[in-house]
């Protein structure tokens, strides 16, 4: 289990008769950028909630950062970072206050917060805005800041749920450079996206259809297997026969 950030085996989540997640099995290596794709309603969010320690599976097994999703939810939460398109920092707190607050919640020492938040603000080029409230920042800046906050406590894994939705094309690329940097620092990245060009930036991706993992491999291997020019085509091939369309 040493080199696996996430292990899922026959993981299932059932709501009544409905199998939102239906016996999915996969592994994510440490330090990997793993793209978790799927059609709307395929079960991505449900699976992600289990892996983040927010929901219990109905059956099957899963370990995240070495911790059991049934018995060690709190340990999982301490060892992961999370951000989504909707997640935004506290609009009425300043950039510095947001960093202090979230890092504090994750138990980073006061001294370390002080030292490292300075570096972070320099890296982001936000020196002048550090004491301004977050609400006034443009969306792209907010998302970059939210990501920085999500990895500030140096989690083993960071979960990103459509982090670049609606973001302009330049910022979207800067955001991915931050993802690469985090991966280079040894953080495992688990990311969902609707932009198929971003799927290409992942080391490996899985594509969920109707609660199951329909394919899992590197983008180039998937394109080869489906004889496709782009990931768009691969996705289309797999998802067009999906029975579920719900969100």
């Amino acid at each position: 289990m040493e080199n696996k950030a996430i292990i899922c085996k026959d993981l299932t989540k059932q709501f009544g008769d409905f199998k939102a997640v239906d016996k999915i099995s996969f592994e994510v290596n440490e330090g990997e950028i793993f793209g978790f794709l799927g059609a709307n309603g395929a079960g991505k969010t449900t699976a992600m909630r289990i892996l983040c320690g927010l929901s219990f599976p109905t059956s099957g097994e899963a370990h995240v950062a070495g911790f059991d999703v049934y018995k060690q939810q709190e340990k999982i939460k301490k060892n992961i970072g999370y951000m989504s398109q909707k997640f935004s920092l506290y609009d009425n707190l300043t950039i510095l206050e947001n960093i202090e607050f979230f890092a504090g919640v994750y138990g980073v020492s006061r001294y370390e917060i002080k030292e490292r938040s300075k570096d972070l603000i320099l890296t982001l080029g936000l020196e002048k805005e550090a004491k301004k409230v977050v609400g006034g920042l443009p969306l792209g800046w907010k998302q970059k800041l939210a990501f920085s906050v999500a990895v500030f406590h140096r989690p083993k894994i960071v979960f990103l749920d459509e982090p670049t939705g609606g973001v302009d094309p330049i910022t979207r690329r800067q955001f991915w450079e931050m993802i690469y940097q985090a991966a280079a620092d040894g953080i495992t990245v688990f990311v969902t996206t609707h932009y198929m060009d971003e799927a290409e930036y992942c080391d490996r991706i899985s594509i969920m259809v109707d609660g199951r993992v329909a394919a899992i491999d590197s983008p180039s291997a998937l394109k080869k297997r489906f004889n496709a020019v782009s990931m768009d085509e691969v996705f289309y091939e797999l998802a067009r026969n999906a029975k579920r369309t719900s969100d």
Partner: protein, 316 residues
Amino acid sequence: MPAVTLKNITKKYGDFVAVDEVSFEVKKGELFGLIGPDGAGKTSIFRILTTLLLAEGGTATVEGHDVVKEFQEIRNKVGYMPGKFSLYQDLTVKENLEFFATIFGTTIEENYDLIKDIYDQIKPFNDRRAGKLSGGMKQKLALCCALIHKPEVLFLDEPTTGVDVVSRSEFWEMLAKLKKQNITIVVSTPYMDEAKLCDRIALIQNGKIMTVDEPQQIIKSFPKTLFAVKAKNIYKLLQNLRTEKEIENCDAFGEFLHLTLVSEKADEEKIKTIAQKYNPEDLEVKKTEPTIEDSFIRLMREQDNSREPKEMLDGK
């Protein structure tokens, strides 16, 4: 007469200029795309054109009617599907549709032809409450409700945001069919790959229109030769190439990097020579056709050069 005209339309929220002297026209029967990221000003423009928001400056018309003085006429002639689902969640599919038909003084039967293809897909759920529908079905119902009074101009604000590739392509097929019925369609989207499905597009960023043209024309007017480059460690290659003076811009584009050179005289060989310095494995270099996203990025950089990014932060 154009279906829609905007002349120097400006909208401010406090000190923040959301729409900055925007001018463009949409021809009758055209499928027109407003392409840009969140916060570019797309929704404000839609709300001004559908007479739900007043602009601070400029004039706009829809089907020849002024958006301020003749808002009543416009409301009868347009269909509007907002980005946020805004039908009555507690009414059923059929009740929602009947409600909107009644408001506009018509019946479902009267314009049944127009909605048939779309409505057939949700008809099996006629008695289900709108709030209990799946995302895709909600979208189809909203489109039916926006069409039920046979509008002359249809405004669709980000109908495909957050929707997967398969559902997105289905939605655009529906739009192509509607266009054949001579409805003018104005649609906004943050997905650059959808631009090519429109007759003409406006690229918008920071409240300003950067260009308006046919997608093919925008691609043609890309001023530089564009190259696609890849190697085994693509992120490292990106970082290395960016330090090179002879390379103008270099951006990640799916499995490739897209780059332009400062000098137009240089070619693939030149790029290979530069890249070889860093001993990349499996280097591949080729010319490639720009996409709308390449053009968008280029235009954004031009816009940014005349405007310090820090200034943006002072906005609300």
